[in-house]
């Protein structure tokens, strides 16, 4: 294993991670909710009364975050290697998989591990393993 020292951003990533953790804690303390993005989205598809506005507000904040960020500081550049068809297939897999698995990187990876949930640990290990495996196949076996 060779570390990519050029792209590795330990301090910025740790600081961003702490912010994500504080955001999840805020939602938990004030709204009593788990900050799992796929769960918050999925709950809007089968809505129940009084359970809609906090979801929409949280997602609105998430979507608006780059706009607010760009007022204060220039946005970092992004590189999206995936082609349009790949993005569609990937999106479908992420949508179905996160709902069947009851969570994504935030719900299981951040909130679940914070609760020391064995269920979330298994889910996190599984999606990490699938992510490692998929990138290995795409980058080192196919191309």
């Amino acid at each position: 294993m060779t570390i990519d020292w050029i792209h590795f951003t330990p301090w910025a990533s740790l600081a961003g991670g702490l912010m994500v953790g504080v955001a999840a804690a805020l939602l938990l303390f004030f709204s009593g909710r788990i900050a799992g993005i796929s769960g918050i989205m999925g709950g809007l598809l089968e809505p129940s009364k009084g359970d809609i506005s906090w979801r929409l507000a949280f997602l609105l904040g998430l979507v608006a975050s780059p706009l607010v960020f760009s007022v204060i500081y220039p946005l970092p550049p992004v590189h999206i290697e995936a082609s349009y068809p790949t993005l569609i297939v990937a999106g479908l897999l992420v949508g179905i998989g996160t709902r069947y698995g009851s969570g994504c990187t935030s719900g299981h990876g951040v909130c679940g591990l914070s609760r020391r949930s064995p269920r979330s640990l298994v889910a996190t290990a599984a999606f990490m393993a699938a992510g490692f495996g998929t990138v290995y196949i795409v980058r080192h076996l196919i191309s």
Partner: protein
């Protein structure tokens, strides 16, 4: 007030993702590419968030209600089943293909550009498909129980 706090939490969550570099799929794929040049950044993002969570959750679990008076919705499921594992594996495969998971995808929508939009619409489509499949399953189980075809 409740919506304002949720909005602020969403804003901070997204800002954290941008600061951490996770809004860039290339950086996520750099983490998932163990056999290539490996960028460990994502581990520090999760680590940083979990450190805060490990401190926050024990307090939350002792609270009778949220600070704004709502019930606390902390997951109670503990079973590890096929659904959980297969779902997570499916998610991980999609994550590895594009480098997007739900949070960063939504936090990239407002940047413009077709790619995050296409991914997010497909992701929503996948979630809608799940809801429909669940209804079919619930219906099938119900008719099995009642004996009607």
């Amino acid at each position: 007030m409740k919506s304002v706090m949720a909005l602020m939490a969403g804003l901070l969550f997204g800002t954290g993702l941008i600061v951490s570099g996770m809004s860039d799929p290339a950086k996520v794929l750099g983490f998932l590419d163990l056999a290539g040049l490996w960028d460990p950044s994502l581990a520090l993002v999760m680590g940083g968030a979990v450190i805060v969570g490990l401190v926050a959750y024990p307090f939350a679990e002792k609270m009778p209600r949220s600070l704004l008076g709502d019930a606390l919705h902390i997951p109670t499921a503990t079973h590890i089943d096929r659904r959980l594992v297969l779902g997570a594996l499916t998610f991980g495969a999609g994550w590895g293909l594009a480098g997007y998971c739900p949070g960063p995808a939504l936090a990239s929508l407002a940047l413009g550009g077709l790619k995050p939009l296409l991914f997010s619409i497909a992701m929503l489509g996948g979630m809608v498909a799940f809801e429909m499949l669940e209804k079919v399953r619930a219906h099938a189980e119900l008719s099995k129980k009642s004996g009607t075809p």
